[in-house]
Structures are given as structure tokens and as C-alpha cells.
Symmetry: C2
Subunit: 110 residues, 2 copies
């Protein structure tokens, strides 16, 4: 099965200046992806299988890809684990205040 | 053709308290819909055919529906025209600062 090697291909990360607002809004418009972002807001780095979301691994991979390509998260490999971080500083540089307002709005809205 | 009467059925508008953040983010994640929202931010009320967007009428109807059901806009009929307004006060009440940050981010990002 080529799956693992495919998943581990070098992922694409947009440069901070190329982060697109509409991609960010789209990435945040899904409850699983919003939960991932909120979780990373509270905890700087997490292993990929440890997020409090109830979806199949392939679905989670898809959500990570959407978040990654929108510029919201970054992965790094450490030993056998893939760790995920929020690109909070990059997002703040690109769109000041956006992430704070959106995550506060989500917390208020629930 | 039943099209006109179908389009003129009483549209659904969520109450302010029921406006859902993920629906709002999704609605704003499209360039045509973002343009409609930005245009209404500058000008309080516009007739539906007068937005600076280059899409077919049926596509525009779809975008209005997404914006309406997300709680971003409201229509009212006046004579033969359907006028559209941004629900700016409702959005500010529900998610303080959100619309301002998002529209500023979009203006910066372009």
C-alpha cells in the first residue's frame, strides 16, 4: 500500500505573505477543523492522533491538509510522531486580530 | 416557468441569536460573496442586480441564498426591486468585531 509514503510526502505550506483569507475562512468553517485550531490555541504542539475529534483517520488527514494548505498549521516529524502546531504568529502577521476574534466568536457562539 | 415565484418565496432569515459562526465563515469564504458583503459595507442598501460581480443571475441567486441563510444579509421588496442590506448590527451583536476584522483582513490581503 503506498498510502503511508503518500501521506508523508513533503507537505505544502504557503509562505506567510501568501496566506489567503478566503482559504483561511473556508478552513475554519468546519467544526472538526475549528476544534483542531482551538485545541492548538490552548496547547502549542500536539501529536496528530491526539485531537479531541471523532472522525476516521482518512478524514482527519483531509482536514489537516485543508488547514495546512490554508496556512493555519504546520507539521514536524519527531521520531515516529507527526507533531502539529498552529501558525499563530504567521497568521497574526498576515491578518492581525483575525484568529483571536474568530476563536472568541466560536467560544461565545457555542 | 415557475422560477420567479420560486425565487420570491419567503426567504429564511436566522434570528440574530441563531447566527452560526461556521455558516458565516463559510459564506465569507467565496470571492463573490465577499464582494457582495464589502459592497454592502460601503453602501447600506443595494438593488440585487447592481453588485459589481460577474456571475450569472442563477449563480448570484445562490450566493444571496448562502449569505441570507448564514444571517449576513436581508432582502426587502420595494416596488419592482429587491433591495439587499447587510445585517451589520445583528452580526456585531452576535460576534463582536468579526465583520470588521474580516473585511479589514480582506482589504489588506488583496
Amino acid at each position: 500500500m503506498p498510502r503511508t509514503s503518500r501521506r508523508r510526502e513533503a507537505p505544502h505550506y504557503p509562505d506567510t505573505a501568501d496566506i489567503d483569507l478566503l482559504d483561511v475562512l473556508h478552513a475554519l468553517s468546519d467544526p472538526t477543523r475549528m476544534t483542531i485550531v482551538l485545541t492548538l490555541g490552548r496547547e502549542p504542539e500536539r501529536a496528530c492522533g491526539t485531537f479531541p475529534v471523532d472522525v476516521a483517520p482518512s478524514t482527519l488527514s483531509h482536514h489537516f491538509k485543508v488547514l495546512r494548505e490554508a496556512g493555519l498549521i504546520r507539521h514536524r516529524e519527531e521520531a515516529n510522531r507527526r507533531l502539529t502546531t498552529l501558525r499563530a504568529a504567521d497568521l497574526e502577521e498576515r491578518f492581525p486580530g483575525l484568529l483571536a476574534v474568530v476563536t472568541a466568536a466560536y467560544a461565545n457562539g457555542e
